[in-house]
């Protein structure tokens, strides 16, 4: 045994509540409050995972978010999550943890042999080989050894993750001494405060570092301050990581619950952000510095004081700065045999009692296999050790500051990048800003909050001994012996950085990408600076000249589920629903989505043979009378003194000549001339029109009308109101439609003289006004009856009831599609595409005749618009007995041994009324090729068809008045 749990102490654990969980198949005991990492340490597990590339054995390095090595897949009593950081994940009873990238387990990984070949597979080796015959041949093997954790394919979602939006005056990130002080001062200034910290316990470094504040021990001060802040009604969130600062200082938080609930995403918009994110300890560069049980000194202290885990018996503490002295002293006091190897020679703090100090000495290598066994110093001294704890100095956690576009300033004496010029709305405090002594920390917090307003709170005072911050930079150097590891997770060594430099990957971003330095799940929190300092050394530049890579969110990995929140299933893109949906369902409607609306495709129930039902509906619709719910049609009112002028401009067709009470069919074009929508325009009176646009275009047509109104006509000239959802529109079509409607007794004359085709009338159904438009999308006599949406049900019921005697049929959209195709009526977006101009559809009048301006006009006269070889709208008929063409079939021509598309089938059905297939198509020069038989191809199969006019049924249009 080297690491062990002490019999007393441990501020974070509750010894009265033992727990156990499994790691790589073995049972591990711990206490409530343990992290997976602290429990594994207490159980003296040394190897907790394997590195990404070489499958090197790796142990726990840190005690927080910076951890590069200790990743585990967790499952069991908790939700399955791959690649969980053992240092931040609570050890819950029944949890099952499995080391990543290790088969069968971390202690005995089958792929460990790869490390023996490491010299042949340095950084970026894959660009230099695997080219013959083809990379894809090697790829599966490489992929299988890469990757870390495993996804559970049977995983079931526990439900959507919560997302919370908040505003506050001040958001403080980090609840160490700086953050606590800043929060307290901001609260005292009467501001609303949110304080967040990524640890389960608040206090940051005060959780394990010696301090006395306002005469109290650190822990008591922390508790008191938190209680004070929370007591005043401010929000304090633990286990919550601020992971991104986005535009306009929106800050995103990842809150973990540890009780089975998915993480919560907070989007907070504070007026002021105080970053008190502290600093992260760096490793020291020496050969084999990645062996298990070589650990961050600060982490060793955290494990000792928070979890009562003493990580070894014979410990070498190696440092280049003052912060490790407290660690060495504490480890010695706890009973370990401690040697402190100090790089610096002069002006050193006093050696802690019980600690052997070797000043002016550095580690050059460590030895050991599955755990460290000893170290060699630069004077050749060899020391045995079961653990090595190192402090290579501190890297301020500048990530969020940089995400907010903050620039960094290099501080030579601290050997670190510090936040540079301030960013609007953001201030920085504490170790992030380079403060070491607690009194400096507190004064930086006061400064960070000074602009927020006068505070009633008293700034805390450090009343105990103070840490000092001396440091001697210790960066990896070129040509060092052995393998000096820089990025533990991605297996980047100093030699890889040298290789990158040798091959001219000297820009810091090239260095990162070439070696993958800093691209692992820890995003290089412990490694980036060492890598770029080495690059600076090799290329004769200073560290700031080399610069840092871009800091990108998230600061720590955040569950995907958190971002999605409730935005799944129907909420992903909500479908619109008919007012009579339930009535249709009761009537056996089978629904499908069309243009964002859920509409009956056909009736007859889900069990019915869809094709037969649809054919039946379409056939019967022509025989007597059909009922159809057309409520989705757009109903946008345009009114005002310039309404007529406005619709003239909006439509391709002249509309101002329309008489009140009449309707006209027309196209709307985009400015590029393409037909954007088609539909009926109704003129209610001189200054009032209703734009009836197609279902899927209601929102976009409305937006377009508004745009032109505001841009070209002005607020007082036209007013636009989208009444689509206010009204239901029930369509009655067929030879007997008039008969059915008359029986409803709507209080208006349906006489053809008074209500001819393309006219409207006003009537009543009971108490409610109804508008009747005699327009047709079937080619048969039809009436569209519009009524308040909430009163549509009785009218529909009456129609159904009355229809019985007439053998009426209720049809869904599919039958309607057949009926309109029989007539050659287009559906925009189906029978047209994003290049179709109005004259391609045979409507050339306005283009050649109109004198006044309209949307898209000039585009109808470009070279391309006038080109002969345009695709034009036609019908296609196939030889007798042949099946319908598939929609999407292309017309083809051969030339020069090559095939060429001449257009394609846009709609195709079997027409039950005609008893043969019908098809609509866009065909090159189609309008002038009626009668020509052409070749077509679908999935390699050749077909033939004859070009016809689009209208296959009742070409003279007699049925409109029959």
């Amino acid at each position: 045994m080297t690491a062990s749990r002490l019999s007393s102490g441990g501020s974070a654990i509750d010894r009265s509540r033992p727990i156990s969980f499994s790691f790589d198949g073995r049972t591990v005991q711990g206490f409530e409050g343990d992290t997976i990492a602290s429990a594994l340490l207490a159980a003296d597990v040394a190897v907790v995972g394997r590195s990404f590339k070489y499958h090197r054995p790796r142990g726990i390095w840190g005690a927080g978010v910076e951890e590069p090595n200790a990743l585990v897949d967790v499952a069991g009593s908790v939700r399955a999550t791959p690649n969980t950081r053992a240092t931040t994940e609570p050890a819950l009873a029944g949890l099952v943890a499995k080391s990543v990238n290790a088969t069968p387990n971390a202690a005995a990984d089958r792929n460990a042999f790869i490390d023996r070949f490491s010299r042949f597979i340095p950084a970026a080796f894959y660009y230099k080989t695997f080219m013959w015959p083809d990379w894809h041949l090697f790829e599966p093997r490489i992929r299988a050894v890469a990757g870390l954790g495993k996804v559970d394919p049977d995983w079931k979602s526990p439900g959507p993750a919560d997302q919370i939006n908040r505003h506050c005056d001040v958001l403080v990130v980090g609840a160490g001494p700086a953050g606590l002080a800043a929060a307290k001062l901001a609260a005292g200034a009467g501001k609303s405060v949110i304080l967040v910290d990524d640890q389960p316990l608040l206090g940051g470094s005060l959780l394990h570092r010696d301090a006395e504040i306002d005469g109290k021990p650190a822990a008591a001060w922390v508790d008191g301050t938190v209680a004070e802040i929370e007591g005043a009604g401010h929000l304090v969130l633990s286990s919550t990581t601020a992971f991104g600062i986005y535009d306009h200082n929106l800050i995103a938080l990842n809150q973990r619950h540890h009780d089975g609930r998915p993480d919560t995403l907070w989007r907070v918009r504070p007026r002021q952000i105080v970053l008190a994110t502290g600093a992260i300890e760096r490793p020291l560069p020496f050969a084999n510095n990645d062996l298990p049980r070589i650990m961050s000194a600060d982490a060793a202290l955290a494990y000792l004081r928070r979890y009562a885990v003493l990580i070894g018996r014979r410990i070498v503490v190696a440092t280049n700065n003052d912060s490790a002295y407290e660690v060495a002293g504490a480890l010695a006091t706890a009973g370990a045999d401690v040697t402190l190897v100090e790089m610096r020679k002069n002006a050193l703090p006093a050696a802690p009692s019980g600690v052997k100090l070797l000043a002016g000495r550095a580690l050059v290598s460590a030895r050991g296999g599955m755990r460290v066994e000893g170290v060699t110093l630069d004077d050749g001294t060899s020391l045995a050790a079961d653990s090595v704890v190192v402090s290579g100095g501190w890297t301020p956690t500048v990530h969020l500051f940089c995400q907010a576009r903050g620039k960094l300033a290099w501080d030579e004496t601290r050997a670190a990048f510090l936040p540079g010029d301030p960013v609007e709305g953001i201030s920085v405090a504490g170790a992030l800003n380079g403060a070491v002594a607690l009194s400096d920390v507190f004064s930086s917090a006061a400064k960070a909050t000074s602009a927020i307003g006068e505070t009633k709170a008293v700034a805390p005072r450090s009343t105990g001994a103070e840490a000092i911050g001396g440091v001697l930079a210790a960066w990896p150097i070129p040509s060092a012996k052995g393998r000096v590891w820089i990025d533990y997770q991605n297996d980047v060594t100093a030699k890889d950085v040298e290789l990158a430099a040798r091959e001219n990957f000297v820009s810091v971003e090239h260095l990162k990408r070439y070696t993958t330095l800093g691209m692992a799940t820890d995003q290089g929190k412990t490694s980036n600076l060492a890598g770029l300092a080495l690059m600076a050394n090799i290329t004769g530049r200073t560290v700031p000249e080399v610069g840092t890579t871009t800091y990108r969110p998230p600061f720590t990995p955040v569950p995907l589920a958190s971002f999605a929140g409730a935005l799944g299933g129907e909420l992903m893109s909500p479908v619109r629903r008919l007012p009579l949906e339930n009535v249709h369902r009761a009537n056996g409607a089978v629904f499908q989505e069309y243009g964002g609306w859920l509409r009956p495709a056909h009736y007859g129930g889900a069990g019915a043979d869809a094709d037969r039902t649809i054919q039946d509906e379409a056939r019967r619709a022509r025989q007597s009378v059909a009922l159809f719910d057309g409520s989705t049609l757009g109903k946008i009112e345009v009114m005002g003194p310039k309404a007529a002028e406005f619709v003239d401009f909006i439509y391709y067709n002249t509309m101002s000549t329309l008489k009140p009470g009449r309707c006209r069919y027309g196209f709307m074009l985009s400015e590029n001339g393409v037909v954007f929508d088609d539909g009926i325009l109704v003129r209610l009176d001189e200054n009032r029109f209703v734009v009836s646009c197609s279902t899927s275009h209601v929102a976009s047509v409305h937006a377009r009308l508004e745009e032109w109104r505001q841009d070209r006509f002005g607020r007082g000239a036209v007013y636009i109101h989208n009444a689509t959802s206010e009204m239901a529109t029930l369509t009655v079509s067929g030879p007997n439609s008039k008969k059915l409607l008359e029986a409803l007794d709507l209080g208006l004359s349906l006489d053809d003289a008074e209500l001819p085709h393309m006219a409207i009338g006003e009537g009543r159904f009971g108490e409610d006004a109804v508008r009747i438009a005699r327009v047709s999308f079937t080619g048969d006599r039809s009436y569209e009856v519009s009524i308040r949406a909430d009163r549509a049900e009785p009218l529909w019921a009456r129609m159904q009831e009355t229809g019985k005697a007439l053998d009426a049929v209720t049809i869904g959209l599919e039958a309607l599609m057949i009926l309109r195709a029989e007539k050659g009526y287009i559906v925009i977006g189906k029978d047209t595409d994003g290049t179709t101009l109005p004259h391609d559809l045979g409507v050339d009048g306005p283009r050649t005749k109109r004198k006044n301006e309209y949307v898209g006009r000039r585009s109808l006269f470009t070279d391309v618009a006038m080109q002969e070889s345009r695709l034009q709208f036609v019908g296609l008929s196939v030889a007798e007995g042949e099946p319908p063409l598939a929609t999407g079939t292309h017309a083809i021509a051969k030339g020069g041994g090559k095939l060429r598309s001449q257009g394609f089938v846009t709609s195709s059905y079997h027409s039950p009324t005609l008893g043969r297939p019908i098809a609509l198509a866009l065909i090159e020069r189609g309008a002038s090729r009626h009668g020509e038989t052409i070749d077509l191809q679908h999935l390699g199969m050749l077909r033939h068809a004859t070009i016809t006019g689009p209208c296959a049924f009742d070409p003279s249009g007699e049925r409109l008045n029959a």
Binding site: R79, A80, N83, R119, F120, I121, Y126, K128, T129, M131, D134, W135, H136, R143, A144, A146, G147, G149, V151, D152, W155, S157, G244, Y246, L499, N504, F505, E509, H510, R513, Y514, T550, P553, P554, P557, V558, P559, L560, A561, F563, A564, G569, E570, M572, S573, Q592, E593, N672, K830, G834, D863, T887, G888, T889, H890, I892, L899, Q937, L939, G940
Partner: protein, 417 residues
Amino acid sequence: MTRRYSALSLFKEGLAGQKGWEPAWRSPEPKKTYDAIVIGGGGHGLATAYYLAKNHGITNVALLEKGWIGGGNTGRNTTVVRSNYYYPESVAIYDLAHRLYEGLSADLNYNVMLSQRGMVFLAHSINEMEITARTVNAMQINGIDAEIFSVDDVRRVAPLLNFAPDARFPILGGGWQGRAGTARHDAVAWGYARGASRLGVDIIQNCEITDFIIEGGRCRGVHTTRGTIRADRIGMAVAGHSSVLAAKAGFRLPVNSYALQACVSEPVKPILDTVVLSPGTGVYVSQSDKGEIVIGGALDRVPSYGQRGNLPVLEGVIAGLLEMFPTFAQLKLMRQWAGIVDVVPDSSPIIGESPLPNLFINCGWGTGGFKAIPAGGTLLAHLLATGKHHDISRPFDLARFASGRLLDEAAGSGIAH
């Protein structure tokens, strides 16, 4: 010095501590004059420089990059390579690129990791199945490998997709291109840089073009942050920054610059062997060789040169991904970023002479120009070397906007990217 890359040289270098490799490309000081200048060290610029030297023997060439090569969209994209386009003009250009990609590792002696793992375009409705049929037919007619996939076919290549019939975007089938896949973006940039440098091209980084030298109405060179450099043939391939340079040259382009975001999950063992695109969610996804799930989606909605990710678009994209692959909800987001893409109204590239004589442009690749890099380079090199269009680039001339001869793939096939 070891020049050639191979398993054997890697082995030999391994025995010698990998110390003998020569620089992948040289970084010389810029000369005062060159025969040609290429502006922009993205894939298109680097490939242009390479093909100028290789295809046309023009080696006295400077490639000028304001930052580090490959640092623009070429190093930020989701690396999908495919050629299943709708219009013959598009097919010609993307097929040229695809074929060159297939031989690129050998040509450059640099493994660009072309992984032809296939790509499936899902169809979520009968209408989308019809559109898929239309596009697949067009591709087959144009000589591109394309197939229609049934639901079972889709299940075979991507079993973790959400096949529930009541899903918001139910899967009815889709379209498939087997030769499609991914390639390693950095390797494409570095491989071209290495190839060009060896043929004599000067690759000059940290060299921003600040203005053009215009004499007698023609472009004669550039002012840069590293001095004035002259040449009578200048090509620019600066993607999202095209309008900025065009303004300096005195003209405007039909380009809007937007951020396009992408993100990756933490690496996991292989779970997705192909590239999947859903038109319903607008999301496309693949798994990198390192194991990260690489996720791309819709363009940002606010024009920007900001080159950074944001929350609203990310949330929509991830929600879309989880709609497609519900089990991916156990993964964590590792990194999020953005590139500034050059969006053109018809989403087709612009290649050709600019209104300023001697200056040629290659831009407008928008969200989908990684797959086109070898072609973009070949065609711009051809223009620079001959002063004339290659047949394949002619339809993509800037003049198409006045003639109305747009090539709108989205309009034709409903598929962007």
